[in-house]
């Protein structure tokens, strides 16, 4: 009775399709085994070329043996499906109502779990001494369970490193959702070379992608020393590591030169603020949110616009109420209309984005503006033209800050590219030719005003270094008009066994319009 039950635990589940047809079948009241051959001798039933089908379990084995005296069933090198996971193991045994696997490997989606021992408990598979691998992470755990498309592990240690564990994660418990590829670690710890960086109560990882190692450190020597972080994603519950939607900016600027100040800001999904305080007591604040725009500059000029937007197909209407404080305080009201039309004909794509703005100031002349931005792309060719007209004097830097008239064109063909840009209002244009490759070259010829110059920049982009390696990517620019070096850059990439650290430094001595001279540094980080 007990022996029949032991066999029945394995066999005794409703049938599931899957085993190939075989000449011989073993049927129990509840389960079925098929095989190419059978021997029953000395109290041992041996099925060769065998396959077992049951609910939540199907496997093939070159040899399944059932010993009548001990009531023990054993399968050599089983390979099949268990509780929705593909598996293979060194052996499978069913004994006294328990099904166990030795040296088992389970695969589902991007998850691979190996366990020294695995035991079937109802709808779950309980694992011991296990290691797991996802496309971008490796884990080990003391215990784990596979059930219902989820992998739950306890005593988890993991790393996104391909080798070593310079960046290590650990947690008391981890829940891996196979369908989404997301892994939630509870009571976790993030360590870097053994140094604890963070102890998030709940750490979410997207195991199908490498973690985003955002390290937006800024360092520049423009009118003094500036340093800090810009757009640093803050940890957020329910969002994978490094993908927090709330971004922090904290910069100390122009220390020891110019107007020293501090900038602090937070941004999240189209809303945020950024405030600055300089040594002279100047205060700047910028706030934005859907339907709200406000800015106060350090010189005291400010505006606040409430413009809730209403979409009507491709057209967006935004009734606007604005207060402007710039050489006098004004209250205005009006309407902004924007549209975006995009289309595609064959391989050609185009967009047309017209806009119009009218603001009436009861105490000052009205302002109106109208403009459009047109762009066309066809294979490697890009064309863009943007133009606006203003009627009346703008009351604020917000109204004034719109593009007057610019045009650009670009052509890319393999590693070769050609670009043209013209700012009609500023009266300058630039033509640039570039060659992209490990060795790259950019030639820029400017026309009009301060842009009338010729610059050549030659650089080398080194491939990522291997583990423990170092790579240098230098670049140097020369201005033929000035007869001197115009810019220089160097990226130093250093790798340990896990991460690549990139320090990029750039100095600009002869800036183009829109550029600021100075020395800047940025730090980048990526996984090997």
């Amino acid at each position: 009775m007990g022996r029949a039950l032991a066999l029945g635990v394995l066999l005794g589940l409703a049938l599931a399709a899957g085993c190939p047809s075989a000449p011989y079948a073993l049927k129990t009241p509840l389960g079925r085994l098929v095989g190419a051959g059978l021997v029953y001798q000395g109290g041992a039933l041996t099925l060769t070329g065998a396959c077992l089908e049951a609910e939540g379990l199907r496997f093939q084995s070159p040899r399944i043996v059932y010993r009548k005296a001990s009531g023990r069933l054993s399968a050599r090198a089983p390979r099949g499906e268990l509780r929705g996971f593909r598996f293979q193991a060194k052996s499978l045994t069913a004994d006294d109502g328990r099904v166990e696997l030795a040296d088992a490997r389970f695969v589902r989606g991007g998850l691979r779990v190996t366990a020294r021992r695995a035991r079937v408990e109802g709808a779950a598979v309980v694992l011991a001494e296990l290691a797991a691998r996802t496309p971008r992470y490796r884990f080990t755990a003391a215990r784990g369970r596979l059930a219902g498309g989820r992998f739950v592990a306890e005593g988890v240690a993991g790393t996104p490193c391909r080798a070593g564990d310079a960046l290590a994660l650990s947690g008391r418990r981890a829940v891996f959702d196979v369908a989404t590829g997301r892994l939630l670690m509870e009571a976790s710890e993030v360590r870097y070379y053994g140094v604890c960086l963070a102890r998030p109560a709940r750490l979410l990882l997207d195991t199908r992608r490498p973690p985003r190692l955002a390290l937006p450190l800024r360092f520049s020597l423009e009118e003094g020393l500036s340093l800090g972080v810009e757009g640093l994603p803050l940890p957020e519950e329910g969002v994978p590591l490094g993908e927090g939607r709330t971004r922090l900016t904290l910069l100390a600027e122009h220390l020891g030169g110019g107007e020293a100040g501090v900038t602090f800001g937070l941004a999240r999904e189209g809303a945020g603020f950024r405030m600055g305080l300089d040594a002279g007591g100047g205060f700047a604040l910028k706030v934005w949110a859907p339907g709200v725009r406000s800015e106060r500059r350090a010189d005291g000029t400010a505006y606040l616009a409430l413009a809730p937007a209403f979409a009507l197909g491709p057209l967006t209407l935004a009734p606007t109420v604005a207060t402007v404080d710039a050489g006098g305080a004004y209250l205005g009201y009006g309407l902004e209309a924007r549209a975006r039309l995009a289309g595609r004909v064959g391989e050609a794509a185009f967009t047309l984005a017209p806009w119009a703005l009218a603001l009436a100031y009861p105490d000052a002349p009205a302002f109106a503006g109208v403009g459009a931005d047109v762009s066309v792309a066809y294979r490697g060719l890009r064309l863009r033209y943007a133009r606006s007209h203003r009627i009346g004097a703008p009351r604020s830097f917000w109204e004034a800050g719109r593009v007057a008239e610019v045009a650009s064109a670009g052509l890319a063909y393999g590693p070769f590219g050609l670009d043209w840009y013209r700012d009609f209002a500023a009266g300058w244009s630039r033509v640039a030719a570039r060659w992209q490759g490990p060795v790259w070259l950019r030639l820029q010829k400017g026309f009009g005003g301060q842009a009338a110059r010729l610059e050549a920049v030659l650089g080398y982009r080194a491939p990522d270094p291997g583990p423990g390696g170092l790579a240098l990517s230098p670049s140097l620019g020369y201005d033929f008009g000035l007869g001197r070096v115009s810019r220089a850059g160097l990226t130093l990439a250093l790798a340990d066994r896990c991460l690549v650290y990139r320090l990029t430094g750039g100095a600009v001595w002869a800036p183009w319009p829109g550029e600021t001279p100075g020395v800047r540094f940025a730090l980048g980080l990526s996984l090997l």
Partner: protein, 209 residues
């Protein structure tokens, strides 16, 4: 041309000794002197001492050294027993044909039934065909070949073999399916689907008429 026959009707059941057969009629015994065929219309008991056979039947017809035909017959050879609706024993060839429903039992096999069968009395091999079903061990088969001396049994074609102790039922499908059983009284049966070639050759030889 029908030969002249002389029928002698004996009103008493008499025991008659022959060279090989011992006959104990249950009723009348009719001897056709022209053909040498003896008929026991009420059946009786016939013993073939040479081959260790005991036949008990409701109707027996035999010719010494040639044949024995019987109805509702029971044939014992040592501890091996057959029952059949009809029996045809070819004495010289040592072969018996069983029809009309056959039952077979041996120390290693109990409660076996089939539609028909053949016995090779020299080799002590039985071939049973059609709805072969055994109680102990429990199996069904299309065809069975049994060596009654060694306890070797071969199931051929579609079969199903049940082992209540193991809680299993083994089935073979198709004309090539086969199961080799090695049975012995009081012992666990041995079974294998890969039949030893020598056994296969030896036992399937009896499938030929």
């Amino acid at each position: 041309m029908r030969s002249l026959a002389l029928f002698l009707a004996l009103g008493l059941a008499l025991a008659a000794e022959f060279a090989a057969f011992t006959v104990e009629p249950a009723g009348d015994q009719v001897v056709d002197l022209t053909t040498g065929v003896t008929t026991l219309p009420s059946g009786g008991r016939l013993v073939d001492a040479e081959r260790g056979l005991v036949l008990v039947a409701d109707f027996i017809e035999y010719k010494e050294g040639a044949f024995v035909r019987a109805k509702k017959a029971r044939l014992d050879q040592g501890k091996v027993h057959f029952e059949a609706g009809a029996l045809d024993y070819r004495v010289a060839a040592g072969r018996v044909r069983l029809t009309g429903g056959v039952a077979f039992s041996a120390p290693f096999l109990k409660g076996l039934k089939a539609d028909a069968g053949r016995l090779d009395l020299k080799a002590r091999v039985a071939v049973l065909t059609g709805h072969v079903a055994s109680q102990d061990p429990a199996f069904t088969a299309r065809t069975l070949v049994a060596d009654t001396r060694t306890g070797e049994v071969l199931l051929l074609g579609d079969f199903a073999y049940r082992d209540p102790g193991l809680g299993i039922e083994l089935t073979g499908k198709g004309k090539d399916a086969r199961l080799y059983l090695k049975l012995a009284e009081g012992k666990e049966p041995e079974a294998r689907t890969a039949v030893p070639p020598e056994v296969l050759r030896r036992l399937t030889a009896f499938l030929k008429e």
